[in-house]
């Protein structure tokens, strides 16, 4: 039995998100009252914001970061749900197909061989982001090729190939760390903790466009994902073109997670735990699971990022540390409740 209907949960999450967002905008070295934030946003959207220091803090620093955080959280959580459905495994997460491992190798290579962020940024983006994105996409392609034969793509082989590629990526990373100096080591480890600082409107635009693509293409795959949970041959007998769906979903995941990792570093936990939690509440129907995960992922990451920004003022913590610290206890509580019911 379930205690919460899917629509009720989505309404709750949709109501929570703007509240969390406005609280997040108000927090920081300079705390800004809610009223001022709403005023500034209204003026900015009607196109006649005047320049002031407060406006600049909100519109140039906090708002782009907030939107980037929101998009990354939503993308990671909904693609986590997609991967868990595709692999028919509630323990799958987006990094399983090798994206994160490849991305961190790409990032480390750039840091070690090109001096990382010291290099002049290319069109407003650091070379690091490019390295991470390319690394992530290449390793996904390798995993996909290994698992694909004339009989189609085997998700089991993909899972194992993902683990193998992850291990190789880990080894290359260690090798690169071994040969790097202190400065590089620090950069590599900070990158791997996931950091959403340095958000700007260009990053928001890139992540936004990718989110729009995902938003346009994912909902139509929800029914196919539901059918896939029955098993691949059962899905085929229900008229689903299984191989085409797999190819499409793996491509979209590589794109979405690749971009998230490139722009925000490694943010663990959101993609694994959010869909799992939502499934415990409203069940595995992807028509509701995907939007609910996106909303919850966005909220969780906003909360985690806000805490990361204020907890050690005037410095800030990498966001990735906070997602696990925040998400894990909620997750454990839910698991505990579920066990008591059985």
């Amino acid at each position: 039995m379930r205690y919460l209907s899917a629509t009720a949960l989505i309404w709750i999450l949709a109501a929570v998100l703007p509240v969390v967002a406005i609280v997040s905008l108000s927090l920081g070295t300079v705390s800004i009252p809610f009223q001022k934030i709403i005023e500034t946003l209204v003026y900015a959207f009607s196109g006649n914001a005047e320049y002031s220091q407060i406006n600049s803090i909100i519109l140039d620093i906090r708002l782009p970061r907030l939107i980037l955080v929101l998009l990354v959280g939503a993308v990671l959580a909904s693609l986590g749900a997609v991967m868990q459905g595709l692999f028919r495994n509630p323990l799958a997460d987006p990094s399983l197909i090798g994206v994160s491992g490849g991305a961190s190798v790409g990032a480390s290579i750039v840091i070690v061989f090109a001096g990382g962020a010291m290099l002049p940024p290319l069109a407003g983006l650091s070379l690091l982001a490019f390295g991470a994105f390319i690394g992530g996409v290449i390793s996904t392609l390798i995993v996909y090729r290994v698992a694909t034969s004339s009989l189609g793509t085997s998700v089991t082989t993909m899972l194992l190939a993902g683990i193998a590629i992850g291990a190789i990526a880990g080894a290359i990373n260690s090798l690169l760390s071994y040969f790097s100096d202190n400065q590089m080591l620090r950069q590599i480890s900070v990158w791997q903790m996931g950091n959403l600082g340095g958000a700007n409107w260009l990053k928001v635009t890139i992540m936004g466009s990718i989110s729009v693509v995902l938003l346009a293409l994912l909902p139509s795959q929800a029914k196919a994902l539901n059918a896939l949970l029955l098993g691949e041959s059962e899905a085929r007998h229900l008229g689903i073109h299984v191989q085409k769906i797999k190819r499409k979903l793996i491509f979209l995941t590589a794109l979405g997670v690749g971009a998230s990792v490139a722009l925000a570093g490694l943010i663990g936990f959101v993609g694994l735990v959010i869909p799992h939690m939502i499934r415990l509440l409203i069940g595995p129907d992807h028509r509701w699971l995907l939007p609910a995960s996106a909303l919850a992922g966005a909220s969780l990451l906003i909360v985690a990022d806000s805490i990361a920004r204020v907890v050690v003022l005037p410095a800030e913590l990498p966001t990735g540390i906070l997602t696990a610290l925040l998400g894990a206890p909620i997750f454990v509580a839910l698991l505990h409740r579920q066990r008591e019911e059985l």
Binding site: R2, G239, H241
Partner: protein
């Protein structure tokens, strides 16, 4: 119309799983496949439903080659219940049965109605809101049966429909075995072609219009249960000495071992 296997052979990794099989599964007829373990029953089902390509020969669904059918149209004509299910996500029974409505998609209200009716037919209305992962083996199998029933619940504009069941009664108690036979009879009376694998020869004798006995990848005998089920055949195929008599009530062959 029918599903026709034309001279099918299936050869995998040096094994001849099926050899020169010719079989016609007619609409409105209950065809039952029996045979010892490893006789090739499941392989034949896989070839007939398009899950495996035969090494030689072809399969025609309503006179059109299986691979030529549009996926969705084919799904409206052919529903398949596998032997085992791998579903381990906590769908409710209604949601599982609702998945069977994907091919025809006649709208939310109608899907709900079909789902409720299909669950009632398999005596699982009380499971509607229960989670699949918390059900017993027999309950799960009934819900899966309801799912494939929902898939062919309404006649299709694309032609005659077929229901393929691989050992549907394996997890069932006596009353639900009987229920399965009743459902199958009703469907075939409506014009649906039913093909199922059974292990219980007496159950097979009671519901089969056409009984197909497989052994070692070939069809050993085929026809009405009265003609097919002989002591000689049972001894040859199953390696069991049996006495065959008549069922006192249904007057179908009764195999006593």
């Amino acid at each position: 119309m029918s599903i026709v296997a034309e001279n099918i052979s299936l050869h995998i990794a040096d094994f001849d799983l099926l050899r020169n099989i010719n079989l016609s599964v007619e609409a409105g007829v209950v065809t039952v496949l029996v045979g010892p373990n490893g006789a090739g029953k499941s392989s034949l089902l896989k070839v007939l439903t398009g899950e495996m390509e035969p090494t030689r020969g072809s399969v025609l669904l309503n006179q059109l080659e299986l691979s030529q059918w549009d996926r969705q149209e084919k799904a409206n004509l052919l529903a398949v219940l596998p032997q085992h299910s791998v579903l381990n996500f906590p769908f409710t029974a209604s949601e599982v049965v609702g998945l069977g409505c994907i091919p025809h998609e006649t709208g939310y209200a109608k899907d709900q109605k079909i789902t409720a009716e299909a669950l009632q037919v398999v005596d699982a209305s009380y499971l509607q809101r229960r989670l699949y992962t918390q059900m017993s083996g027999g309950e799960k199998q009934r819900v899966q049966l309801a799912r494939v029933l929902a898939q062919v619940w309404l006649p299709s504009q694309h032609g005659d429909q077929f229901l393929v069941l691989d050992e549907p009664t394996a997890a069932f108690d006596l009353s639900h075995q009987q229920m399965t036979l009743d459902i199958v009879k009703k469907l075939s009376a409506r014009g649906v072609g039913v093909l199922m694998v059974l292990h219980d020869l007496n159950l097979a004798a009671r519901c089969a219009d056409n009984l197909v006995v497989m052994n070692g990848g070939v069809i050993e005998a085929c026809g009405s249960p009265d003609n097919v089920l002989t002591e000689q055949l049972v001894s040859k195929v199953f390696n069991v000495q049996a006495t065959i008599t008549r069922h006192p009530v249904t007057d179908t062959p009764l195999v006593i071992t």
